[in-house]
């Protein structure tokens, strides 16, 4: 599967090479499509490609690293 997500990095994670670690840890292809990085925050539009279960695990791992993961639509659930 190919999953398109936005990753939000906070002050604690913005300097960490987390996308590099992700590709080392899991058999996925990462493709950065957009990014904005500042001192205290980073926003990355990322495509993650791999086997369905591996991509699922990769998403869980990103959350464990303190990265906020959302679909590219961001909040789909509206009031």
């Amino acid at each position: 599967m190919k999953l398109r997500v936005y990753l939000t990095f906070d002050e604690a994670t913005v300097r960490e090479p987390i996308i590099w670690k992700l590709a080392k840890e899991f058999d996925v292809i990462t493709n950065i499509r957009t990014a904005e990085v500042k001192n205290n925050m980073g926003l990355v539009g990322l495509e993650i490609e791999g086997a369905d279960d591996v991509v699922e695990q990769a998403i869980i791992w990103l959350g464990q690293q303190g990265v906020h993961v959302e679909p590219i639509e961001q909040n789909v659930i509206e009031g």
């Binding site: 679909p71 789909v76 659930i77 509206e78």
Partner: protein, 418 residues
């Protein structure tokens, strides 16, 4: 119907253009897509007289909405009252205040009926038979009702622990409701995956560019009802931030088409403090939106990572407006004030809008001597739980005239009986 002036879908980030299809994200940069038009085709044809000759619905501006031909869903929707709020003017000490009252929007009492009728009309054009949304309130009810009236199948996705009353507001229309267990982020991601996998028109995902355009009708009506002019200031509630950008777009379009003079309208955004990522970004002077976990009684505005936050922030800054946020108590107080002064029972989002406007009037951000429109987007009957403890309880008496006489006397009420 004149020829459609819709040109394309265009990426708001990189400018890449796409054909009119059920798609919403730029394949190159993941930027959101926006409907763009060839306004030149309307020059001299789209006049005040033509608009005024049409039925009083949101579709009297159909050339500026992204459908081909006539609408097929929500044909009667829109054209809600614009109320001159004389009583509230006195309380707030302002000269010219109006309420655009979408708490009485047909058929489900929120401005979502505008966006949903455009989304579903477009879905029918595209050949979809099933429509869907993920919602905790107004959107669910609107999709379910408008789909039912149009003979479309509908699916509504909700968190599994949503209050019964809100489930009822969609369930009555015969929609298929799916409650999803899990944390908000997981539920949210699943909804996105479902939208991508099934061949449905998911109103706030794959037909979102069309859906969002429906909000412009609120702006068009506001300007026509003001006597073909834009207000100096307009205050809108912000969830995703989309309404803020679309009201601004509606004003710019009317100026471009020569329907109104450029009044230098400033757009102001309102949020609840418990979910205020956009107003915080405006106040902090940044354009980065920090996602938050929503915690407010204004549930219809509780979007922690708003997709249009960046664009709303930009509209507010470029138009010379501002953004504010208010506590839940201020929301309740403002709901009561609006009801007691103008007879309008707005949902919590309406309390947010009025509460923030009051704060900005006090701080001088909103001038007291210029025209202000407040956009009220939903009905208070839907969020009664928020104010149940704030309303005076009835005084109970026996069925006995003496008991009432005692109460009346205490209230200082005179009788006509000698």
């Amino acid at each position: 119907m004149s020829e459609s002036i819709v040109r394309a879908l265009k990426c708001r980030e990189c400018g890449q253009e796409y054909a009119i299809e059920p798609t919403h994200v730029c394949e190159f940069c993941f930027g959101p897509l926006e409907v763009v038009y060839d306004y030149d085709k309307l020059q001299g044809k789209f006049t005040r007289e033509l608009i005024e000759s049409r039925p009083q619905t949101m579709w009297r501006y159909k050339e500026l909405l992204p459908i081909d031909g006539e609408p097929t869903v929500g044909v009667q929707n829109g054209f809600t009252p614009l109320v001159r709020a004389k009583n509230l003017e006195k309380v707030l000490g302002v000269k010219e205040l109006y309420i655009k009252n979408d708490s009485v929007c047909y058929p489900t009492l929120s401005f979502k009926d505008r966006v949903v009728s455009v989304a579903l009309s477009k879905a029918v054009e595209f050949g979809f038979k099933t429509v869907a949304c993920a919602s905790t309130g107004n959107l669910a009810g609107s999709v379910a009702a408008n789909a039912a009236a149009a003979g479309l199948e509908s699916y509504v996705f909700i968190p599994h622990d949503l209050e019964q009353g809100k489930v009822l507001g969609a369930g009555i229309f015969g929609t298929k409701i799916i409650g999803i267990k899990g944390k908000y982020d997981d539920v949210n991601r699943l909804c996105s995956e479902v939208a991508g996998k099934y061949g449905w028109a998911f109103v706030n995902v794959n037909v979102r560019p069309f859906y969002a355009e429906g909000s412009k009708s609120l702006g068009y009506e506001m300007m026509e009802q003001l006597g073909w002019r834009a207000p100096k200031h307009v205050v809108v509630p912000m969830a995703s931030g989309s309404l803020c950008t679309k009201v601004d777009k509606s004003i710019k379009e009317f100026i471009k088409l020569g329907l109104i003079e450029d009044n230098g309208t400033a757009v102001y955004g309102a949020q609840a403090t418990g979910c205020s990522p956009i107003s915080k970004s405006v106040k902090d002077g940044t354009d980065l939106i920090h996602p938050v976990h929503a915690d407010t009684i204004a549930k219809s505005l509780a979007i922690g990572n708003p997709a249009d936050g960046y664009y709303a922030n930009r509209v507010i800054k470029e138009s010379g407006g501002w953004a504010e946020d208010v506590s839940d108590q201020e929301v309740v107080d403002a709901m009561k004030l609006l009801a007691e002064t103008e007879g309008i029972f707005a949902e919590t989002a309406g309390g947010v809008t009025l509460g923030c406007a009051m704060k900005m009037i006090e701080s001088g951000r909103l001038p007291r001597d210029e025209s202000i429109v407040l956009c009220i987007t939903g009905n208070g009957l839907k969020t009664q739980e928020a104010i149940i403890d704030a309303i005076a309880k009835p005084r109970i008496i026996d069925a006995n005239l003496k008991e009432f006489d005692a109460l009346a006397e205490a209230d200082g009420v005179a009788t006509t009986d000698k």
